[in-house]
């Protein structure tokens, strides 16, 4: 018993540390102009092109003479907004369709679930690439593309959670006593499904960031001169030999951010859902 209590406390500590780190990353994104002392991430002077890291440019500069440190800090904005955008979109659409599907059953359920089955039955990144490419490169389209392949996961989860409780007596009682359907959906179905869905969303953020950065790397996401980490890596590729810092720092930024959000998601899951402890 003593042992168990201690290990839970240890886990809680890990969660706290990563929550603080995540907040620091978010703060860096919000206060990017202050941190970089007003340097424009999209402008540079060609006289400063391809400078190695120094006291003046601690992460060096790129081929346009732009400060890499500034661009990495601003990159946090793009990466966080995009990842939260995808999670938000897929969460809302998936949960809505999943609850409707599970509650009403019948033809609505069949149609929604067959579409969801179709989407999960083959590699998501392939479709995301095609969607993002066909819609045209932009960070907004990349968000749409990744959401298109992510919502089914939430829909299936929400549906299974609703199916568990929809035939309970208290729901039947609410129906008999004249509760309106939207009220039942919001008052009983949604709160029941929410905790599990939130855990899933939290653990998903890291891998969604990787996918979005991957799309930008391939040229199907952010477009120049947006300071986006994946795009910066692909721009730095050509200078691998002469200027390796162009690909070291944006890569580190992605890596660290994804580690922090993955740890945070795992920590949150351990706290909210102790059964899932390995």
């Amino acid at each position: 018993m003593e042992m168990k209590k201690k290990s839970f406390f240890a886990r809680y500590k890990v969660f706290t540390i990563f929550a603080i780190l995540a907040i620091l990353i978010i703060l860096a994104a919000v206060f990017a102009p202050q941190i970089t002392r007003g340097v424009d991430p999209a402008k540079g002077s060609l006289a400063d092109a391809i400078k190695a890291p120094s006291a003046e440019h601690i992460f060096g500069t790129d081929k346009m003479g732009r400060d890499i440190f500034t661009r990495v800090i601003y990159g946090a904005r793009v990466s966080l907004l995009a990842a939260f955008g995808v999670v938000g979109l897929s969460f809302v659409i998936g949960t809505f369709l999943g609850i409707i599907s599970g509650y009403f059953r019948g033809i609505v359920d069949s149609v929604i679930m067959r579409i969801a089955d179709m989407m999960v039955s083959f590699p998501g990144l392939v479709l995301a690439m095609a969607v993002a490419g066909i819609l045209g490169a932009s960070i907004g389209n990349a968000i749409i593309a990744v959401s298109v392949v992510t919502w089914p996961k939430y829909a299936r989860l929400a549906r299974s959670l609703v199916l568990k409780i929809r035939d309970r007596d208290y729901v039947a009682a609410a129906v008999v006593t004249g509760s309106k359907t939207p009220y039942i959906l919001f008052r009983y179905m949604l709160p029941n499904a929410l905790p599990t869905l939130v855990i899933t969303a939290a653990t998903d953020i890291g891998s969604l960031m990787l996918e979005l950065a991957g799309l930008s790397f391939l040229g199907f996401g952010a477009t120049p001169p947006t300071p986006e980490w994946g795009l910066m890596l692909s721009e730095g590729r050509a200078y691998m030999q002469s200027a390796p810092w162009l690909m070291i720092f944006p890569g580190l930024a992605i890596f660290i951010t994804v580690v922090v959000f993955n740890m945070l998601g795992d920590g949150l899951r351990d706290i909210l859902d102790p059964r899932s402890n390995e």
């Binding site: 095609a130 490419g133 991957g214 040229g219 690909m247």
Partner: protein
């Protein structure tokens, strides 16, 4: 899996393929950009409006959506996915030429992944909470957070730029040119799979029969090899089948980085040049490959687990 079940799965695959073909066709139909214009411009000369209009008519781009879709579907069922606008060759020929390199890369990186993650996951599970378990868990955690395109670039920087192994492994179309791309793909996959192996083995180790065998004094090694490992094969094979999906999707990035002539790099250039026929062909082929592999995985249960042979 019974024959009936297999047949229904094949039917399901057909339905999914038709659904996906409809979706991608709809997308390309709605996409900005006139395919006739793109086809003509890709030959290098700026076409006149009347030339574009004439091509639209002959290609049937003016027909209603469903007429166009069913014509395309009909041809596709005969194995004809049309002609690639940008490369001026039949889509099927292009895909066929690139299929084997990508499959080879996928298989090679899966072997790498298995060699690394099965032993690590097993040791980690058996020695739970020891230093080696903590180390494996820590490293795999970092591994799943690594962007594969960054890993690829770093490997390239290390082996091709710093160590100057350029002629040895960084160019050419033979086996050696597959090493770095395969390692890149295997890094993230191994990390994920090691964790899954560990979880599966731990799950099996906590079963009552293991406690019973231990109580009877059966040797730990014997329990592990005779009972635990064979019993955890089933979830491991399932996860292996699923990871083929992320491998097939992930090859695109890696193929682009290493200029590897596979399906992924073909798809990326098709998307960049709005080559709709090629994009549709690629998406359908990948979907088909992935679903057939997963069907084979499910059929393989029959051999791994005798219970599955009974009608279920």
């Amino acid at each position: 899996m019974s024959t009936k079940k297999i047949l229904s799965r094949i039917l399901q695959i057909v339905i999914v393929l038709i659904g996906i073909s409809f979706l991608t066709f709809l997308l390309t139909y709605l996409a900005p950009g006139d395919p006739a214009q793109i086809m003509l411009t890709s030959s290098g000369v700026m076409p006149t409006p009347s030339e574009v209009a004439a091509l639209r008519e002959t290609m049937g781009f003016n027909d209603p959506f469903f007429v166009q879709y069913f014509r395309w579907l009909g041809n596709a069922l005969h194995g004809d996915f049309g002609v690639s606008f940008s490369l001026n060759k039949p889509v099927v020929d292009l895909l066929l030429a690139r299929l084997w390199p990508t499959l080879k890369l996928t298989i090679f990186s899966m072997i790498l992944m298995l060699v690394v993650s099965v032993p690590l996951g097993m040791v980690s599970a058996v020695k739970k909470d020891s230093w080696i378990d903590n180390l494996v868990r820590g490293v795999t955690f970092l591994g799943v957070s690594l962007p594969n395109f960054w890993v690829g670039l770093l490997l390239m920087l290390l082996f091709c730029v710093k160590l100057k192994l350029l002629p040895v492994i960084c160019s050419g179309g033979d086996f050696k040119s597959m090493i770095l791309p395969a390692v890149t793909l295997a890094v993230a996959m191994s990390a994920k799979y090691t964790r899954q192996v560990r979880t599966a083995i731990l799950e099996e180790l906590s079963q009552d029969y293991v406690i019973g065998a231990r109580a009877r004094g059966v040797k730990e090694r014997k329990i592990l090899w005779r009972n635990v490992f064979p019993n955890s094969l089933l979830p491991l094979i399932t996860m292996l089948g699923l990871s083929v999906g992320s491998l097939l999707g992930g090859t695109a990035v890696v193929e682009v980085i290493f200029s590897y002539p596979g399906l992924g790099s073909l798809a990326v250039s098709a998307i960049t040049s709005n080559d709709y026929n090629l994009i549709q062909g690629y998406v359908l082929w990948i979907a088909l490959i992935y679903m057939v592999i997963n069907l084979l995985v499910d059929i393989s249960y029959n051999f791994v687990d005798p219970r599955m042979r009974l009608s279920r």
